[in-house]
Symmetry: C2
Subunit: 472 residues, 2 copies
């Protein structure tokens, strides 16, 4: 299909092998500018939350949180941040959570969890608001500090959070410090304490013995300057875009892998079903996860390039698809995490959520089996407190139909006609520069994968560790 | 105090060292006969649940479950149980859960959990009923079977459950078999997977790879014939007793340890507070746990004898105290289990629940620390879904006040005056036949503990394993 149909075009990617591309047709899927503040003047009445007036699903708690300081107050707040004596350095995952919180993906959370929120998350995957209503919250969004930091904070009631080079990012106020029960946190979030859980190794095991909760005031919108910031639409921006398009249903698809034609079939079929249900203009939120992922997942920049090709190729319709990056880190916590993935998309305006086999799952880190039962994710999601308003759309399983030469919904009555191509098999083929069966993925998308693995082996051949992998 | 004030008197204890005692004053705390069916004819309208009409708190789900087959149908059902081809043998803990379920402590559960209930318990500590309301349910009540049993069951839709010598106990109908995710179950229930968790070792690790859920029809009331059955009042019987006494508030105290004067102070003080709140006749449900406990806990028969002495001694007032055994096994699952302990007592008619430091806690099995933060239990309990109707009464900490020579509420302003006597210290003293400080426990109650440890060392001196310990 002609590239004029493409909805995603990249520019200024920091990765060596990325082509320099310019933007066109960007209005199909994203506001032209996302570098300015999300909050339009008319919506600034409430500093902490903005009431969204539209036919879209209400955010959790009724108000979409916006924790970024208004532009008019930024100068003052930045000066104030410099005067706070205690500074806590954020690591990569911490910063991703600041991003998530700042834009209201975790509404009604106003900052890093205090103990009552943390305990309710661990035990109930949800918490009760003052008005008695219940919102879902299944993964702890917490900030760890060590003994020395706790000692230095003493009786202070606020701290400044800074990035890796010391730039102030946010002020955390009305702080509460409580013990970091690492083993219990891991056991209750993942249902295992086996070593080798990627997120636990990255962000918990080596982290401090204390957690610090409080309200966040983020000094300006979080940017990564990696050429992809334009694709990081906040829930508020996504809602504006859905309203602009006149969407009467929004269905979200979470992904952290390259899109193949099975996924595309599913998304297309979902739209068909929604039209049959009477919706006039269902819009797809294709929302690849942009935060921390494990080392053998395909890095975000390559995935975004692959998604671009899929849209260029017409496999998905840019007219009814919004592609945007979900800034959360990935926990690989299966049935616990899929609730977070769904809940965050409610805040972004989605009232339908597509869920498949083994969502947010992975292999058991020390045993030769999947960590989660493949059916638990969708079952848990369908029963989760606080998600009653969300329509859960379970996957049909798609597989490669050898008789048709394309991806199709699996028909158990002629199972011999179908070929299941796992992620492992897909990666194996791409690494060996072999082609998958025709119709599995559009050739231009497949080429991106081959190029990615090629770039890895070229780099490791040079005796250097791939930057993309090291940072993934 | 005169023994005429005693409310608990034992008879026919199977333990060798138990004295033979006869019953008197039993009506103060228990119906005279508990061996007949709980269900009075007028309440038999609904086979599955009986609507309780009183001023007491409603059972969870509105109806107290009674899964024991009516007397008129027992003969038929027993014949039917004999004809069911598949028989599953219950172990001790399984039987305790059948007991718990049969009497409605776990209302509205009608039998061993099916997968949807199991998953909601693990992830949300609660489940949603068909009418949309939420009830608390924090510990899995499940029955494990092995591969061979699953194979033999095949497509059958019911099985007969039998005791250790093959006597039919119950029929499980409309069965559902699903995988037993042992590691995940342990991690999400205990917040650790460390080896040495007593319940996990007893009932999970070696159990089968499958769980079987379904509706229970229990052939007759569960009895242990250990001389203590008279003290095992069902929730229905307890409700009748509270109504008979004209209780306008019922406050429950869960325990699995000997009662010392600090506990007594607390219970007495709670009653005083309730009277101050305007209640005219608050009644205490002193509800020692009667099921599986870990090997170093004092066995039930000895604890009951100790409780008897405490009441005889007038430390607690028999007029306003109902002592009865709670048939559940003990999980030592801290903040998760305390919810179960509280929820079960709602079903028994309690609308106030006393909770202390580290409820249902224990030492970490492999690390030199407590398994749970001592404050988490009461915090989690106070926020737990489905327990909003229950009034949580957090403990004040009682300790031995050296200046008064008695147990008193700890006063931090003169902490040097107080002595904390831990369970470990108490056991150590009793083992060495030493006395605790005067006023820690009534002397006759203390003597029971000394006698217990004496009986253990006498038996181990004979080269025999103590029956009491082996079965604890």
């Amino acid at each position: 299909m002609a590239s004029s149909a493409a909805a995603i075009v990249f520019s200024d990617s920091p990765f060596r092998s990325s082509p320099l591309i310019h933007t066109h047709h960007v209005s199909r899927y994203a506001p032209r500018s996302v570098s300015v503040s999300v909050v339009s003047p008319s919506r600034r009445a409430s500093r902490r939350g903005l009431a969204v007036k539209s036919a879209l699903i209400d955010p959790d708690g009724g108000k979409l949180m916006n924790l970024v300081v208004e532009e008019s107050r930024r100068r003052v707040m930045k000066r104030e941040a410099e005067t706070v004596p205690i500074r806590i350095k954020l690591n990569r995952v911490d910063l991703e959570w600041v991003h998530v919180l700042s834009e209201g993906w975790a509404s009604p959370l106003k900052g890093f969890m205090r103990q009552s929120e943390f305990l309710q998350t661990l035990h109930f995957n949800s918490f009760r608001l003052e008005d008695g209503s219940v919102v879902n919250m299944s993964v702890p969004i917490v900030l760890a500090i060590d003994d020395d930091q706790k000692f230095r904070i003493g009786d202070s009631n606020r701290v400044t959070l800074v990035d890796s080079v010391g730039n102030p990012i946010a002020i955390l106020t009305d702080i509460e410090i409580y013990k970091h029960p690492k083993e219990e946190r891991i056991a209750r979030t993942w249902g295992t304490t086996a070593r080798g859980l990627p997120y636990a190794e990255e962000a918990i095991t080596k982290a401090g013995n204390w957690l610090i909760g409080g309200d966040l005031q983020v000094l300006e919108p979080i940017k990564y300057n990696d050429g992809l910031d334009r694709f990081r639409l906040s829930p508020s921006q996504l809602r504006e875009e859905f309203i602009r398009r006149g969407a009467d249903a929004v269905f979200a698809f979470q992904l952290r892998n390259p899109v193949h034609n099975g996924h595309a079939l599913l998304m297309t079929d979902t739209r068909r079903r929604l039209l049959e249900m009477g919706y006039k203009n269902p819009v797809l939120l294709l929302n690849p996860l942009g935060g921390f992922t494990k080392a053998d997942d395909v890095p975000l920049s390559w995935r975004m390039r692959q998604h671009e090709k899929v849209l260029e190729d017409g496999v998905l319709d840019p007219e009814t698809t919004v592609v945007s990056i979900f800034p959360s880190p990935m926990l690989y916590a299966g049935p616990t995490e899929v609730q977070w993935h769904a809940k965050a998309r409610i805040n972004a305006g989605a009232n339908f959520y597509i869920v498949g086999r083994d969502p947010a799952g992975m292999g058991h880190p020390t045993e030769n089996r999947d960590l989660y039962d493949a059916d638990h994710g969708k079952k848990v999601l369908s029963m989760a407190p606080g998600l009653e308003r969300l329509n859960i759309l379970p996957f049909k399983v798609a597989a490669y139909d050898k008789t048709q030469g394309k991806m199709a919904f699996f028909d158990p009555s002629r199972s011999q006609d179908f070929l299941f191509i796992s992620g492992t098999k897909m990666r194996g083929l791409a690494k060996k520069k072999e082609n998958p069966p025709d119709g599995f993925m559009c050739p231009s998308g497949w080429k991106v994968l081959v190029d990615y693995y090629d770039s890895l082996s070229a780099e490791s051949g040079n005796g250097r560790v791939s930057e993309a992998v090291a940072s993934a």
